[in-house]
Subunit: 138 residues, 2 copies
């Protein structure tokens, strides 16, 4: 089943990058992609190109600062393309790059599987909180 050998976990392809390694740059990128705002921003952009304030409304709860920061990180990683038109009022569109789309496809599959499993999650939480006399957790 596993014809390769290397620094990666058994069963995974032998890539030069390994998110499990603390020093690997892929770890930072994974954090940008899966971070609280990164994931939602990418997910929102999956539908198509959006402007800054459209994104802000779409990603419920994000602040201007965090959205700006998130977009910079994603743009730098080559996942999001920023296109500014020199008009007044200013118009800037953000959209996924091909790489961003490949990654976001997987990300959305993950998000959907979480949403799909939520009934089970909620039930599990009730059971857990019953067994432990526990007050409040995230």
């Amino acid at each position: 089943m596993d014809t390769s050998a290397g620094p990666d976990a058994p069963g995974t392809p032998d890539l030069p990058y390994d998110v499990f390694a603390r020093a690997c740059p892929s770890r930072r990128t994974l954090e940008h992609v899966t971070g609280r705002w990164g994931a939602l921003t990418l997910g929102a952009l999956h539908e198509g190109s959006l402007r800054f304030n459209e994104l802000r409304r779409r990603v419920d709860g994000v602040s201007e600062k965090m959205l700006s920061q998130t977009l910079h990180a994603l743009e730098r990683d080559g996942l999001v393309h920023r296109e500014a038109q020199l008009v007044n009022p200013p118009r800037v569109d953000y959209r996924l790059t091909p790489l961003g789309r490949r990654i976001t496809d997987r990300l959305l599959a993950l998000m959907t599987s979480v949403e799909t499993g939520m009934d089970e999650v909620v039930a599990a939480r009730v059971r857990y909180d019953e067994r432990h006399g526990d007050p409040v957790r995230g």
Copy 2:
């Protein structure tokens, strides 16, 4: 193309949960799954059952406290099963639940796609840093 209508984004199935909504509990669960340590912990457990300190070594850089906290959250969400044997020295095994496995399958697909795209990401960063005179970013 889209036979449903509801609070979700166009094109997505009409589930009762929506990660894009600030108040939806699925958002918390998504954060547990994609969080810095949650993702790596689930990924490590995908291979099979692991003990606490095995996990610690596998998830490079995680502290005892963070691993403990992460495992509690994932256990409460019903993604990880904890099995303690009353022996001396104590032995506790963690493994994915069926729900946890379904979600982790998607998570690993995402992680792999990030690793696979890293050459492109690194190249994009170089280009970005050239265009902007920027010193250091994450």
